[in-house]
């Protein structure tokens, strides 16, 4: 045996002997409190959700200062530690936006504390109160949604304005009216989901490398070749290709790069190019739902609810395929006149130019980034087993690309869309503010009363309700504010613990973006590009196909979730 093993064995035996020989510090049934007296408890709100960051203090009559003061934890628990047990003791709980709770301990409780060293008090139910801060936060939140919806301000500026307004009111307003307090900066920071920020940032770098390779344009051209000029077949292939690309990358980039070449193909075929492009954008909004990284809302939902890449894939893919099939069917019917148009075919010169526009531009970067991307996807899938959050494989993948491909680091940093990241951070704070003041709880309560314990009804309300709202409201803030509501419903409705309502939120938020031209950023940039080619997409034209497709796919999504989760 080697010396190191001998030493290990001796240490192990010594520890075992020590454990056996030394008496337990406490008597049976008592807890080792290290010579202090512990009082523990838990805070819940009226919806049985933990109350976090409440100030809990132990006060004894005659003492100027509290004997101990702590904050409630993430699960609502708190623990006071006293050096002595006074003759009278009161526990006081203060939390902005909740009624203050004060309860004196009885003689029996004090005796128990003295004898056993620990006292566990019953869970305390904290009643919410509607403060002036509630109204301020609510007004700010609604104002921000409107500013974004009507494009009065850039979404990032709007979100920063909202966060600043909340801090300003909390910091200065309280000097005049204490109930104006919403939250402080430290508390606001706790609402920022850094997993989302890092995942989005890493995927931006990965996508920035891939987008310059020409893979999107090549795919669209191959779709054209495969269809052999049959426009009805071409649109079906493009729907599938766009959906897959959106699921793996993101729908915004997919449409930015697919639209120009699709437009060229449409014009060259002599059909209305919008008959190809509008179905593509609808497919991109639907296809992204399949994976964790396909839409920003899925990234939000995944990080909030702990839903991984595999979960989205397994629980959404079949439903999304059915929805895409329905989209294909509707598109074939809606544009039936276009498919009947017979063109003389593309001239060799135009074909050559199309082929040129649809070629792979950076083959070396493509295979390298493709390989790293596949490894990153594998990291998402395998990482879940080891509790590695998706942001980690994404960051590793982005780093490998930066080192392997050695792109201009400044260009890559430029590729990170900081305005979007800042938007997310400010948005998290604003949603945190309305959550803090109880507005989200109120909405959760209303929806809870509406659906009761009826899971199918809850799924329907979330899928169709959120879907309808997101036809007009930006889906990222909508999903972010609905997450706590869905969390509440998931905890209270029997059977919802499968996280089905989060999938319902994912489907509703993304599919709703198809309703109107303003429903999703991908729609708007697509319209921007087609306008550059003298083929603008009018609001009415988009709505004529977008609205029916939205409701058809929402119903399919709802039915699929019922089938999948046995609602």
């Amino acid at each position: 045996m080697r010396p190191i093993k001998w030493i290990s064995l001796i240490v192990f035996i010594f520890l075992v002997v020590l454990r056996v020989v030394l008496p337990w510090h406490s008597a049976a049934g008592a807890v080792d409190t290290g010579g202090t007296f512990l009082i523990t408890g838990q805070l819940r709100d009226t919806q049985n959700q933990p109350v976090v960051a409440a100030e809990v203090s132990a006060v004894s009559e005659g003492e100027g200062e509290p004997l101990d003061e702590v904050e409630s934890q993430e699960d609502g628990t708190w623990m006071l530690e006293l050096e002595t047990v006074p003759a009278n003791l009161t526990v006081e709980i203060h939390r902005p936006h909740f009624e203050t709770q004060v309860f004196p301990l009885s003689e029996d409780e004090l005796t128990q504390l003295e004898e056993t060293g620990i006292l566990r008090v019953d869970a305390t139910v904290m009643e919410r109160k509607t403060s002036a801060g509630f109204w301020v936060a609510t007004v700010v939140f609604i104002a921000i949604l409107l500013l974004i919806a009507f494009e009065v301000l850039h979404s990032t500026s709007a979100a920063l304005l909202g966060a600043s307004a909340i801090f300003l009111v909390s910091a200065l307003g309280t000097a005049f009216e204490p109930s104006l307090f919403i939250f402080n900066f430290e508390r606001a920071l706790t609402y920022i989901n850094w997993e989302v920020i890092f995942l989005v940032m890493a995927m931006m770098i990965v996508i920035a490398v891939i987008e310059g390779t020409g893979i999107f344009q090549w795919t669209a051209f191959q779709a054209y070749r495969l269809s052999r000029g049959r426009s009805w077949l071409l649109v079906l292939i493009l729907i599938l290709v766009t959906a897959v690309a959106s699921a793996l990358l993101d729908n915004f980039t997919t449409m930015l790069l697919m639209t120009p070449i699709s437009l060229e193909i449409g014009l060259a075929l002599g059909i209305n190019p919008l008959a190809l492009i509008i179905p593509e954008v609808l497919a991109s909004n639907i296809g992204g739902i399949t994976t964790l990284i396909g839409t920003p809302t899925n990234i939000l939902i995944g990080a909030y609810a702990g839903i991984g890449f595999n979960d989205f894939l397994v629980n959404q893919t079949v439903g999304i395929l059915v929805a895409l099939a329905a989209l294909g069917g509707f598109v074939l019917w809606h544009y039936r006149k276009e498919w009947r148009r017979v063109s003389g075919g593309i001239s060799p010169a135009l074909y050559e130019r199309l082929e040129e526009n649809g070629r792979i531009r950076q083959p070396d970067a493509l295979w390298k980034s493709g390989l790293v991307f596949l490894l990153t996807l594998a990291g998402f899938i395998v990482g879940e087993r080891y509790h590695i959050v998706p942001a980690v494989p994404a960051l590793i993948g982005a780093t490998i690309l930066l080192i392997w491909l050695k792109p201009d680091i400044h260009a890559m940093i430029k590729a990170v869309d900081w305005t979007t990241l800042v938007f997310f951070m400010a948005l998290f704070m604003i949603v945190g503010a309305v959550q803090e003041v109880g507005m989200i709880s109120l909405i959760a309560g209303w929806i809870g009363e509406l659906v009761g314990t009826n899971l199918p009804l809850a799924i329907f309300v979330i899928v169709v309700g959120v879907g309808t709202l997101s036809t007009a409201i930006a889906n990222i803030p909508l999903a972010a504010s609905m997450l706590p509501v869905v969390q509440f419903l998931t905890a209270t409705i029997p059977g919802a613990q499968t996280k089905v309502l989060y999938y319902a939120l994912s489907m509703g938020a993304a599919m709703g973006g198809n309703g109107f031209l303003v429903g999703a950023e991908a729609n708007l940039v697509t319209a921007g590009i087609t306008a550059q080619a003298g083929t603008p997409i009018s609001f009415k034209e988009f709505m004529k196909i977008g609205l029916p497709v939205t409701f058809i796919t929402l119903i399919i999504g709802f039915l699929w979730l019922l089938v999948r989760f046995g609602g």
Partner: protein
């Protein structure tokens, strides 16, 4: 030899105007230049700067394709046309091409009813500015018909 410049976005709604201007160029035995000007300002509020560069490049490719289609229409009609792609501000692009190619006639498409990408007011201002600044004739086309002519001194409708 007269040089005619026709800025186009190449959509189906511009085909009639393209055909008319090709016929005019052929009739006057003039050089014909199709111009495509891409502009990525629409991405300003929604896309990061890196993707803007990529999209600008894509729009230039798209412009070349759209002009190739217009040139093919000219070839079918028995006339030759050139295509120039520029990006950025439309007026600046127009000005530089007019100077560079010694353009004599500028043809502009009038805003359509439902597919308008310019406004009548913008078109009017553009006509006046170009005619005055460069001393060239400006004609306006709608659905393949010349609906307005403007030279530095006269205006016919």
């Amino acid at each position: 030899m007269t040089t005619i410049l026709y800025p186009t976005r190449g959509g189906q709604s511009s085909y009639k105007n393209q055909d008319r201007i090709i016929a005019l160029a052929k009739e006057q035995e003039a050089n014909l230049i199709f111009l495509y000007v891409s502009n990525v300002e629409f991405l300003g509020n929604v896309a990061g700067p890196a993707i803007v560069d990529v999209v600008e490049n894509e729009l230039n490719h798209m412009g070349e394709f759209l002009l190739a289609m217009a040139q093919e229409r000219a070839a079918i009609a028995g006339w030759r046309a050139d295509g120039v792609v520029r990006h950025g501000n439309f007026y600046e692009a127009l000005s530089s091409i007019i100077k560079e190619y010694g353009v004599n006639i500028l043809a502009l498409g009038a805003p359509g009813q439902s597919h308008a990408v310019t406004t009548p007011k913008f078109l009017e201002q553009l006509m006046v500015s170009i005619a005055n600044e460069f001393g060239i004739e400006v004609i306006v086309l709608r659905d393949g018909e010349i609906i307005e002519r403007k030279s530095p001194a006269t205006t016919d409708t």
